[in-house]
Amino acid sequence: MSSAPATIDGPLLTADGVPLKESLEKSLRRSKLRALLLVAPPLLFLIFLFVIPIGNMLTRSVDDKLINQVLPNTFEAFEAWDKQSEPSEAMFEAVYTDLKNADKTDIGKSSVRMNYAMPGWRSLIKKTARKIKKMEPPYREAFIKADERWVDKDFWLSLGIMKDKVTFGYYWNAIDRTYDFDKNVIHVDENRKVYNLLWWRTILVSVIVTLACLVLAYPVAYLLATLPMRVANLLMICVLMPFWTSLLVRIVAWMIMLQQNGVVNDTLVAAGILADDNRLEMMYNFNGTIIVMTQILLPFMILPIYSVMKTIPPSLMRAAQNLGATPTLAFIRVYMPQTVPGIGAGCILVFIVAIGYYITPELVGGKDGRLIGNMVAYHMQRSLNWGLAAAMGTILLCVILVFYWIYDKIIGIDNMKMG
């Protein structure tokens, strides 16, 4: 505070003799602390359930430390090698020293990691490690005796992919690219390309589902907001009941409805609309994923739009018509612009949930309705390639942030209303 009267020498004091500045600071600090304590629970919640796991995911997607710690001599010998000549005795001795010193579990983990760089490493390392105690120099011969694949220079060359402690290999893998032995990024074989297709399909499905939800939700939300209370409440229950029903129950219900011998097909065939051998394929494919996801995510679109529509005074429409607009024009020019915040919130909500979906595509997607989320789950649970799963998760996060940014540019994030 610089506005202290100039006539007083020295600092301004409070009644108990403490300088005013200090006293003010103290009370300010106390209130800051109190505020901090108040926000502590959500803050801790965020840190433990959001910042740490995501940080962990980011680290895992680039981390390649372990293998360098377990096989330090090997990588040193590899660096000294000219990559042209046959691997020397010294290089084999380096591997021998590393395998002999390393912990059994670490060898297991490293061999799994090395297998990502070149299939075959896992059993090669394991088989060699099992015989390492009985080995005697010359090590080259001993290794080749343990497993003849050691003559294959490619295994040695593949070490080049793993020599750094930080790798972007998982990210390249996630978009159908890989490192060659000199760490140049190359495309994977045509017949092994899976992920790019899945990325595009995932984005396509999310966009289609979001648009379908919007088209279906808008009239429902309008009815909810404008019908008399009693009818609207009934309608609201119809919206919320499926929302509260278990996800699996809803999916299975759709299976029963839509499969080849399901209710819909049976009815159409019985009514003579479809021939018995020409039944619609609505389940276990792309269509199945779209239909079921749209139904499941619909409430996420209806509720934000409804809550915004509820706040629009009906008098505005009447005023517009009073001023000469036709009902359609009034609706488009006056009513709809005011619902944009709800539409924005609904779209973002549906899109973000849809892009990471995996249970529904797993169950109803068949072979061409599976999404990137299914691959993340596969690598988390089955192949145990958590690095690749983490890289995919990170890319997914970035895709969402990009869409969020686009949304902010076009509509403006301040314009969003969740309810």
Binding site: G108, N191, V194, Y284, E362, K367, Q381, S383, L384
Partner: protein
């Protein structure tokens, strides 16, 4: 007020720990008829059945690794597939067990020598053999009936759709067998890029006729409803339908791919001693043979197999079980025993290629 609160808290703590004590050993398995057979054969014959608690899971080591890495282990025993048994033990997710503690066969052979396959590591306890095998419904084909794995890939001779699963395991082996590769050479051929190309070329022949399944019950539905003419399935599912429900399925016992199933103990299992005691009981010759009364998966211990063969009709409802066993001698000669080591090495790259192949 505080006192009451304290007592309630105390009471609930006691209640929780009592509940934890009542179910001491958590055994994680696949659910369905399979878990039911384990409960009947291992749990109900155990000295303290109430101390065993079965939990279902969907396979994979994801949850196992999460529990071990976070140090918050709640499972004790897990029922795992062959490749998981190896990878998990390599990564230190499972306990290495004292092999001398297990019960020898009645003739004195140690358990490890009694197992029909080579012991992969010291973590595993024998469970069963199961297999991927082709089957069809009686009356599907007029005239000649399919008898070989080559017939499964021959849609000209045996027209109709084919049910296959959404992952490549067993399919690569079968495709090569159908292409004329000898059983003993299958993995040698598969280890070369040309071998994999050859397998996919064979798979191409049924691609336009393929219906994909991913859950074990589905192939039975597909064949029963006539949606496919022939399908691959888990042998246990086919056997259960025939043995218990009187389904008219015919299994083609040629070119089946046998897989192992093991029990393992989690690293840092909360009830290690009790879990070990249960493992010893579950892996005994008698328990293994007992399990075959309820499901037609083949026991891994040769001694248990002998007991069943001599005790026919062995199935609990008085039917013969041997003709449904995937590892009976006459079928073994025409089967491939899956190589988990090959799959651990090349599984990822082949899976990617297979996924791409399905989507094309």
């Amino acid at each position: 007020m505080k006192v009451i609160l304290k007592h309630t808290l105390l009471a609930s703590v006691v209640a929780v720990s009592a509940a934890a004590q009542a179910a001491e050993v958590n055994v994680v398995s696949w659910g369905g008829a399979y878990t039911a057979s384990q409960q009947k054969a291992y749990q109900e014959t155990y000295k303290d059945p109430d101390s065993i608690n079965f939990i279902n899971y969907n396979g994979g080591l994801g949850e196992v690794r999460t529990q071990v890495e976070s140090g918050n282990v709640t499972w004790d025993i897990v029922d795992v597939l062959p490749s998981e048994a190896r990878v998990g033990c390599d990564e230190g997710l499972f306990e290495e067990l004292d092999r001398s503690a297990f019960m020898p066969a009645p003739d004195g052979t140690s358990m490890d020598d009694d197992i029909m396959v080579e012991l992969p590591n010291d973590c595993v306890v024998p469970q069963i053999f199961w297999s991927y095998v082709p089957f069809y419904q009686e009356g599907t084909f007029s005239g000649a009936q399919p008898t070989t794995i080559a017939d499964f890939f021959n849609v000209k001779k045996f027209p109709g759709k084919r049910g296959i699963h959404t992952w490549p395991n067993a399919l690569i082996e079968m495709a090569l067998l159908a292409d004329g590769v000898a059983i003993k050479d299958v993995y040698k051929v598969m280890s070369t890029p040309e071998g994999i190309d050859r397998a996919f070329k064979m798979l191409d022949k049924i691609k336009d006729h393929a219906v994909f399944w991913s859950s074990g019950a589905k192939p039975l539905e597909l064949v029963q409803s006539g949606e496919v003419a022939m399908s691959l399935a888990y042998n246990g599912r086919i056997g259960a339908a025939v043995l218990s429900e009187g389904a008219k399925f015919v299994t083609v016992w040629d070119g089946q791919v046998l897989e192992e199933e093991w029990l393992v103990m989690m690293k840092g299992a909360p009830n290690k001693e009790a879990a070990m005691d249960f493992l010893i009981h579950a892996s005994s010759t008698a328990s293994q043979a007992e399990q075959a009364k309820y499901i037609n998966y083949g026991p891994m211990r040769a001694s248990a197999f002998d007991i069943m063969a001599k005790g026919e009709p062995w199935f609990h409802n008085g039917k013969n079980i041997m003709e449904h066993m995937p590892n009976r001698p006459e079928v073994m000669a025409r089967s491939v025993v899956a190589s988990p080591d090959w799959w651990a090495d090349y599984g990822d790259s082949v899976s990617e290629r297979y996924t791409a192949w399905m989507g094309q």
